[in-house]
Symmetry: C2
């Protein structure tokens, strides 16, 4: 398979998939979508993904592209089982998926660019938007912290990266962008530190992408 990932350097959903691809050691072509300039709304990208969101993963084999970061990560883990991004036990898998869901359903969708712009269009001023963004991060991280403290041993669940880490590390990056300090969440902070030494997480960093703007 010749993979192509449609991505934007600091959008957190494609960042999750970059981590997953790097953990699996899979090569892929990087196709930047300039979300700030509105490239996602142009016909060229709409023809790829009518939802006009990133990521999109083209498998290069003529099948329909894959969308939705969690669906893509689970697919990659099923097709390329090693190294595993999910534990084997159903209950453990439910814990990992719950952590991923807290981020992918309850934090990120409320804070991404299309939502920030929608709030702006409803005349919600910048200070209130900042409070809004912080609120969902704080709520989500307050929920994640005891789970990671209980189930994590270096990473969110156990001592190897899972889909939960693929979600958490981009969300930590987003928290820093919005100036939310991690002091209240030592377990989350520790996973963030750990990821800094891991080559797959380093390869996936926003600043290491071809479309990064310094």
């Amino acid at each position: 398979m010749s993979l192509t990932l449609y991505s934007q350097w600091r959008a957190t959903a494609p960042y999750r998939v970059r981590i997953g691809l790097a953990l699996k050691g899979l090569d892929y072509a990087y196709e930047p979508v300039d979300l700030v300039a509105g490239a996602q709304h142009k016909p060229a990208y709409r023809a790829v993904n009518i939802q006009r969101l990133v990521p999109t993963l083209d498998l290069g084999d003529g099948t329909d592209v894959l969308t939705q970061s969690l669906a893509i990560l689970e697919y990659l883990d099923e097709i390329h089982p090693e190294p595993a991004l999910m534990p084997k036990d159903p209950m453990d898998r439910a814990r990992v998926r719950a952590m991923a869901g807290i981020i992918a359903c309850d934090i990120h969708p409320l804070n991404n660019m299309r939502v920030q712009r929608a709030l702006e269009a409803m005349d919600v001023a910048a200070p209130r938007r900042a409070k809004w963004t912080e609120r969902w991060i704080v709520d989500g991280f307050n929920t994640l912290e005891p789970m990671i403290a209980k189930y994590g041993q270096g990473f969110c669940f156990g001592d190897t990266p899972t889909i939960a880490d693929c979600c958490l590390i981009p969300q930590i990056y987003s928290a820093a962008r919005y100036k939310v300090e991690l002091d209240a969440w030592p377990a989350i902070q520790a996973v963030g530190q750990r990821s800094k030494e891991h080559p797959a997480f380093i390869a996936a960093l926003p600043e290491n992408q071809p479309d990064a703007v310094s």
Copy 2:
């Protein structure tokens, strides 16, 4: 296992799990959480689920409760494989999970009660909130429609219910609450019609729950 589901009759995330439990033929105790009265913020429920959201599934075996509707549905499908709520092929599974993600990540989190209240607290007036709510439903349904038209044969994917249907039917219910007509989405509408004849979907209906308010 003696299952207990913490639910609220018309919240769409526990509605998804009710459908899954009914499709699997699993009995459970129903524990209502009065979200309108703020019961989710009281110590009794915080002790169950610190995220203060529904659903929570207590397996009754002393293990930590399960949270996050998609994680719970995948768990139920792994523990009770028949009838299957997921196809077997990894690519097919990715399609089902993408459909579920479009609803559970890109529509519902933007429209649920805590978000409606947060918008209200930022002085976003009712007509704008209605437009906001409609926008995410329209965006999501526009994305889902061609997928269901292509992959569905009565249900979202194929001719038996999957996790995608567990998400879609509650989202159709929510669309009706917000007066979003389904005329533009015949494939979605057809799945909604089909579910009306299915006993598991009927059992899970909001109006058939013990805490329903007429």
